[in-house]
Symmetry: C2
Subunit: 199 residues, 2 copies
């Protein structure tokens, strides 16, 4: 699969919801654009990136297009992540339902002993010592870090040492990861500060 841009990826669930309601065997990018109130050029580009070009005058076979968008969104290769740090933000992410649109699930959280138990939605929160075995046994590839910044690098190292190849961190500190590990660092305070500058 080609890498679909972040912006396009954001629109795919909308296309998918619409396509699932379509009754016709074929559908054109023009029609989709019209129905969703989007620019035709954009829809054409998004679908080409996700699924290749439609056939002239005919467009896409609806069923096949749905299938390919689902693959592209990862809904066919269900992917499980783990999370370290079951504080408020950690728990909010742990129980957030929107990840399933993209075939993602946070399988479990890890924290120090006194936070162990289950989340409101019933997700397990295990002691940090169990992370190593859990990652290896379940082939976890994505780790989410919501621990305080003092603990973040240590947790990050623990994750990458146990097979995790993508880290999503909310700790306000620059993490170092081995080559080949994808890293996305959120800085919520910075996002708000940057918005404040634009007022």
């Amino acid at each position: 699969m080609n890498e679909v841009s972040r912006a396009a990826l954001g629109r795919l669930p909308m296309y998918l919801r619409y396509l699932k309601d379509v009754q016709t065997e074929n559908i054109s990018a023009t029609k989709i654009a019209e129905e969703l109130g989007l620019g035709e050029v954009q829809v054409r580009k998004d679908l080409a990136a996700a699924s290749g070009k439609g056939r002239p005058k005919i467009g896409y076979e609806t069923k096949a297009l749905i299938e390919r968008l689902e693959v592209c969104l990862g809904q066919k290769n269900h992917c499980r992540a783990i999370l370290a740090g079951a504080g408020k933000l950690g728990r909010a992410l742990l129980d957030y339902e929107g990840f399933s649109d993209y075939g993602l699930e946070i399988a479990a959280a890890f924290d120090c002993d006194d936070a162990v138990g289950t989340s409101e939605a019933g997700k397990p929160i295990y002691p940090l010592e169990k992370m190593r075995d859990f990652c290896r046994e379940n082939g976890i590839k994505i780790g989410i870090i919501t621990v305080p910044k003092e603990a973040a690098q240590e947790v990050c190292d623990l994750m990458t040492e146990n097979g995790i190849t993508a880290i999503w961190s909310f700790a306000p500190i620059n993490l170092k990861v081995p080559k080949g590990v994808a890293l996305r660092q959120e800085n919520l305070a910075l996002s708000l500060a940057h918005l404040n500058q634009q007022i």
Copy 2:
């Protein structure tokens, strides 16, 4: 003040923490870069954007540079935001301490009646009907949206009608704002999905 880039803004707290420990009257960008393990060109650019150029051979007057970075980070013009939607994510943001680095504070949250009370850290959560008066009386300019997507546009309209000129939304829906209102839309599921594509 010129608009400082998001990346530079992210480094200013680090410069500031270092500068507050400096004992000398003057400090050069070279020295700061060395001490913090950053590239000299980058530090020079960041400081120029935030505070103008240093003097040749002398650099910056430490005290004045601290002052200007604080202004740039908004620490001198304390800015208060409000938040709508006191669910898990809302409460996590409400009590998040990192905003103060940038002179930002979430003054209060608003939600429907049964969520009213105080957060764990003691921040007030008022009924939604009070938002209008609170914004006007306190000259609030920033609104954070953590309500479910069905309610997001309505809350957004309420905010912009009452003097808010910058919206930071976590609702997974495209909001429409009047001209002149800054809008930043976070999509947490999309961030994770995009990271997943990079594995």
